[in-house]
Amino acid sequence: MFELLSRTLRYVFIVLIYYFLYNFLKIMIADLRGEKSQPKETGFILLDENGNKYTLFDINTLGRAEDADIIIDDPFISSKHALIFKRGSKLLIQDLHSTNGTFLNNKKITRPLRLKENDEITLGTKKFKFLRGETVGAEDRSYLQ
């Protein structure tokens, strides 16, 4: 009697254990998806000549298109002009085969290049400065004084 019960119940146990696992895996997958869909700030910004700030996330597209992450309205800029992305702890810039090219410190870039603080990025006629978020914050405060 006990033997029969035990033999039957073992399948029940396994089903229960796997159901438990399935529930947790569901939560885990939801977690991982949620993390992906929420872009993280990198702490760096782009500053254009007029003093506009653009916060940089893990992946940013720059261009004229409305679905670009950073929209720049300039006739010399392609709709998807360049890409700034994070690899490890570094930010890299890549040209997306734009018509007029992307320039880093006045040199045309052909492959992804690492961005350093105070680098100058030129897209079309517009110039951007690559800065750490905090340094700009400090400057802002100095304006107020």
Binding site: L9, R10, I17, Y19, L21, F24
Partner: protein, 407 residues
């Protein structure tokens, strides 16, 4: 917490309770006549689990409830196995489970309110040193290593507590992501390892060594140190093989247990037989022969579980452990403060290596070392300390999420 996630968590609590009740009902009929003892045990377990889950959720809305549910589930399976092997130790283990839950609650609370301890790494090292040195002076020898302190009937292993202080020590030293005074730092680590080796707790020494290696790599991302460390591990292994008799015995038993089945290879051979007997679905609860395996309640509980729940059950258990480690790593990734991040990682890494070492040992993947399987093996200090470590992890995540608003 989102209502949907909360519903899933509640469902999993219910599954844990259901597994317990079904197993208890089954075991109540084992002797042919009905005996209600396992049912009482399972009811006590359920009460502790429900109170623990809902009370902590109510008091700490920012906590990670998954940690508590996962370890309750593992404890539940462990208790079922223990009751089936030896009802008396299951009753003791149930008491330890209760104490563990209480300490989980307390350590979560203390960690949430603790303003980062500003004592510096040296104090953590000193505490670790004292903890590991104390059994050498006051300790008693059990299972071939002098790493136990006895209080009357109760045996306590201070190295379990030293795991926590050691990870705090590493985290505090490496919080700037570089090694400042390398001679002092490595000297301190080798003193700790030396104490463990001196107590002939080589499994423990291995655990501490690899945990230190992983944390140093995570903190400094230096590949050269990791490679050196791995070479060092090989050299240490060879030296251990030369100078420690029981390392040689264990390694030989691992390489070819069939050479000396009734003697040195006995444990591992019985464990392998049990695993083979289990097959895919297991023999069914209460139908295996765990009494053939030596030290089945402590080191070899995984083989007993494997025999009765089969390959499917045992691999699911490994995934549950993996989920626990995943939660720990996720917690340490969400934290900005590098001291807390590395502490969380250290605690998780200790769990991870310990689980790998013992499960790998009983299935003959690596040589057998006598460490406990957290939450499942019989043993008070292991159970209590595992709960405290998880409580610290929980406190760290509450600090990170709750921030300064309510902390």
């Amino acid at each position: 917490m989102e209502p949907r996630t909360e519903a899933i968590y509640n469902k999993n609590i219910a599954i844990t309770a259901l597994v317990g009740i079904l197993a208890a009902l089954l075991l109540a009929f084992r002797e042919g006549v009905f005996s209600p003892v396992p049912i009482y045990g399972s009811l006590i377990f359920i009460v502790i689990m429900f109170v623990g889950h809902f009370l902590t959720n109510h008091l700490f809305p920012k906590q990670d409830p998954a940690l508590f549910i996962l370890c309750c589930f593992i404890c539940q399976l462990g208790l079922v196995m223990l009751y089936r092997i030896d009802p008396e130790s299951a009753a003791k283990q149930l008491i330890w489970f209760g104490i563990g839950c209480l300490l989980y609650f307390i350590s979560s609370f203390v960690c949430r309110t603790w303003i980062e301890i500003k004592v510096g790494p040296f104090i953590f090292f000193l505490v670790t040193f004292v903890l590991l040195a104390s059994p050498l002076i006051f300790g008693v020898e059990r299972y071939g290593s002098k790493s136990w302190i006895s209080f009357g009937n109760f045996l306590f292993q201070p190295s379990e507590l030293a795991k926590i202080t050691f990870s705090l020590f590493l985290a505090d030293t490496l919080k700037e992501h570089k090694i400042e005074d390398s001679i002092k730092f490595f000297g301190q680590i080798f003193v700790v390892l030396g104490l463990l080796a001196f107590a002939r707790d080589l499994g423990g020494a291995m655990l501490f060594y690899f945990a230190a290696l992983i944390i140093i790599f995570a903190a400094t991302s230096r590949l050269d140190l990791t490679v050196l460390g791995l070479i060092g591990a090989v050299v240490a292994g060879l030296l251990g093989y030369q100078f420690f008799g029981h390392v040689r015995v264990r390694t030989k038993a691992w390489l070819n247990p069939w050479e000396d089945v009734p003697g040195k290879g006995y444990q591992i051979v019985q464990s392998l037989f049990a695993i083979a007997e289990g097959g895919f679905f297991g023999t069914g609860l209460g139908l295996g022969r765990p009494d053939y395996i030596p030290a089945v309640t402590t080191d070899f509980i995984f083989s007993a579980f494997f025999e009765e729940f089969g390959f499917l059950g045992a691999s699911a258990l490994i995934v549950v452990y993996f989920l626990l480690i995943y939660r720990g790593i996720k917690i340490s990734l969400t934290i900005e403060n590098s001291f807390l991040c590395l502490s969380a990682l250290g605690i998780t890494v200790f769990f991870g290596i310990q689980i790998f070492t013992i499960i790998g040992g009983v299935i003959k993947l690596i040589p057998m070392t006598g460490v406990t399987l957290p939450f499942m093996s019989y043993g008070g200090s292991s159970m209590v300390m595992s709960f405290i470590s998880l409580g610290i992890l929980n406190g760290i995540i509450m600090r990170a999420l709750g921030g300064e608003a309510d902390g």
